[in-house]
C-alpha cells in the first residue's frame, strides 16, 4: 500500500473509531473500536490494523469523557492488538472464501467476543497490578479480575462485540473493498 493510501486508511478508521466512541459513550463498554480494528486488520493486514488500534485507543485514553485512562493506558492499547491479530488471522484463514450469507459472520462474532473476554481479563489483571502496586497477591489478582460487579461491563463488552461482529463487521468486510476498490 502506498504511503498516502496508508495514511488515509489509518486516519479514516481512527477518526471513525474515535467519533463512534464519543457517540456510544453513554453506553458503558459498548464500542465500535474492536469491530473496526478487526475489520481494518482483515482488509489491510496486521500492521495497519494494529496501527489503527494503537492510535485510536491512545487518543481515546486521553480524550474519553470518563477522564484520562492514566497508567492503565498501555494495557488498554496493547489489548487492541489482540483484535488486529484476530482480524489478520481470520483473513489468512478464510481469504476470499468469505461470504456475507454464510456461517463466517458468526465466526467473526465469536472471535470478537473471545477477544473481548481476553481484553477484559488483561485489563482487569492490569487494574489489580495498579490498584495493589507493587506486589498484588494472587487473591487480589483473582478478586479484581473476576469481581462479580464487573460482570455487567464484561457482558456488555462481549455481547456488543458479538453483535457488531455478526452484523457490522461482515458488511464492512464485503462493502469497503467494493466502495474503495479494495487494497491493491
Amino acid at each position: 500500500m502506498r504511503s498516502t493510501a496508508l495514511v488515509a486508511v489509518v486516519a479514516t478508521f481512527t477518526a471513525l473509531i474515535v467519533g463512534s466512541d464519543f457517540a456510544l459513550s453513554p453506553f458503558s463498554n459498548v464500542k465500535l473500536l474492536d469491530t473496526l480494528v478487526f475489520v481494518s486488520a482483515y482488509l489491510f493486514g496486521f500492521r495497519i490494523g494494529a496501527m489503527i488500534g494503537v492510535l485510536s485507543e491512545s487518543i481515546w485514553s486521553v480524550v474519553s469523557p470518563q477522564g484520562t485512562a492514566g497508567v492503565i493506558a498501555p494495557f488498554l492499547i496493547a489489548g487492541e492488538v489482540l483484535f488486529a491479530l484476530a482480524g489478520w488471522g481470520a483473513a489468512k484463514a478464510w481469504g476470499r472464501r468469505f461470504q456475507l450469507l454464510s456461517p463466517y459472520p458468526l465466526f467473526i462474532g465469536a472471535a470478537l467476543a473471545i477477544c473481548a473476554f481476553f481484553w477484559d481479563l488483561e485489563t482487569n489483571l492490569a487494574t489489580a497490578l495498579i490498584a495493589f502496586w507493587p506486589a498484588p497477591s494472587l487473591g487480589e489478582y483473582l478478586c479484581t479480575a473476576f469481581c462479580p460487579l464487573t460482570l455487567p461491563f464484561i457482558l456488555a463488552h462481549e455481547v456488543s462485540d458479538f453483535a457488531f461482529g455478526i452484523v457490522l463487521a461482515p458488511a464492512f468486510i464485503v462493502f469497503i473493498p467494493k466502495v474503495f476498490r479494495g487494497p491493491k
Binding site: 458503558s28 463498554n29 474519553s64 470518563q66 477522564g67 484520562t68 485512562a69 492514566g70 497508567v71 492503565i72 488498554l76 477484559d120 485489563t123 482487569n124 487494574t127 495498579i130 490498584a131 495493589f132 502496586w133 479484581t144 469481581c147 462479580p148 460487579l149 464487573t150 460482570l151 455487567p152 461491563f153
Partner: protein
C-alpha cells in the same frame, strides 16, 4: 425731647459691644463649622475609600468562592479518576468532605446561597444498622460515587477500573464485603428501590435523587437478595 449726648453714646457703645460680641461668636462658630466640615470631609473620604475597599474585597471574595467551587469540582473529577490505593486519593477523599462543608459556609457568609442540589443517601449495613443522610447538599455534576465519598467523609473503600470508568465499592465505614455479601448501589425511582446495573459512577445525582448502599447477600446470578 431729644436724648442727651451721654445716652446716645451709651447706646452706641452697647451696640458696638453687641456687634463685636456677635461677630466674635460668629467667627468662633464659623471656625468650629469649618473644622467640623473638614472632619466630615475626611470621614466621608475615609468611608468612600473603605467602601471601595469593601467592594473590591467583596469582588475578590466572590471570585475566590467561584475559584474554590471550580477547584472543588476539578478535585472531585480528579479523585473520581485516581487509583484508589494511592495516598493522593486517600488524602483527597478525606479532605473533600471538609472542603465541601467549608465552601457552603463561605457561600452563606457572602449572603448568597450556593447553587446546590438536595439529595438523600442511605447506607444499610445489612445488620440492622442504617444511616440516613437526608436533604444533604451536593454539588451539581457529582455522580453517585463522588456524592457517597463526600457524604461519608471518605470512608469508602473501592477499586477503580479505568477501562469501565467505574469504582467497585468493597467497603463502607470499615465494613468490608465478604464471600457471601457484597455492597450494592441502589436508586429510588419514586416508588421503589432499584439496584443499579451500571454502578454509582454512571448515576448523575440531581435535585431530590435518593441513593442507597446495602451490604447484601446475593444469588448465583449476582442479584442482591435484599432491598434497602
Amino acid at each position: 425731647m431729644t436724648p442727651s449726648r451721654g445716652v446716645f453714646l451709651g447706646v452706641a457703645v452697647v451696640l458696638v459691644a453687641l456687634l463685636i460680641m456677635s461677630s466674635s461668636l460668629a467667627a468662633l462658630y464659623y471656625g468650629q463649622y469649618r473644622q467640623a466640615y473638614s472632619q466630615n470631609q475626611n470621614y466621608a473620604e475615609e468611608l468612600s475609600s473603605a467602601l471601595a475597599s469593601y467592594r473590591s474585597l467583596s469582588g475578590s471574595f466572590n471570585s475566590s468562592l467561584r475559584d474554590y467551587n471550580t477547584t472543588l469540582s476539578l478535585l472531585t473529577i480528579a479523585v473520581a479518576n485516581l487509583n484508589t490505593s494511592t495516598p493522593a486519593y486517600q488524602n483527597a477523599t478525606t479532605a473533600l468532605s471538609s472542603l465541601w462543608h467549608d465552601y457552603q459556609q463561605l457561600s452563606s457568609v457572602s449572603g448568597r446561597r450556593a447553587l446546590v442540589y438536595s439529595a438523600h443517601l442511605l447506607v444499610d449495613f445489612g445488620n440492622g444498622t442504617r444511616r440516613w443522610f437526608n436533604d444533604t447538599s451536593v454539588d451539581p455534576g457529582w455522580n453517585g460515587y463522588v456524592a457517597s465519598i463526600v457524604l461519608l467523609k471518605g470512608n469508602v473503600q473501592a477499586t477503580w477500573y479505568p477501562q469501565y470508568g467505574e469504582h467497585f465499592v468493597t467497603g463502607i465505614d470499615g465494613i468490608s464485603q465478604t464471600t457471601s455479601k457484597s455492597w450494592f448501589f441502589w436508586e429510588f425511582n419514586g416508588t421503589s428501590w432499584a439496584a443499579s446495573q451500571n454502578g454509582a459512577d454512571e448515576l448523575q445525582v440531581n435535585n431530590g435523587t435518593s441513593i442507597a448502599w446495602t451490604l447484601c447477600p446475593y444469588d448465583t446470578n449476582f442479584n442482591p437478595i435484599c432491598t434497602p
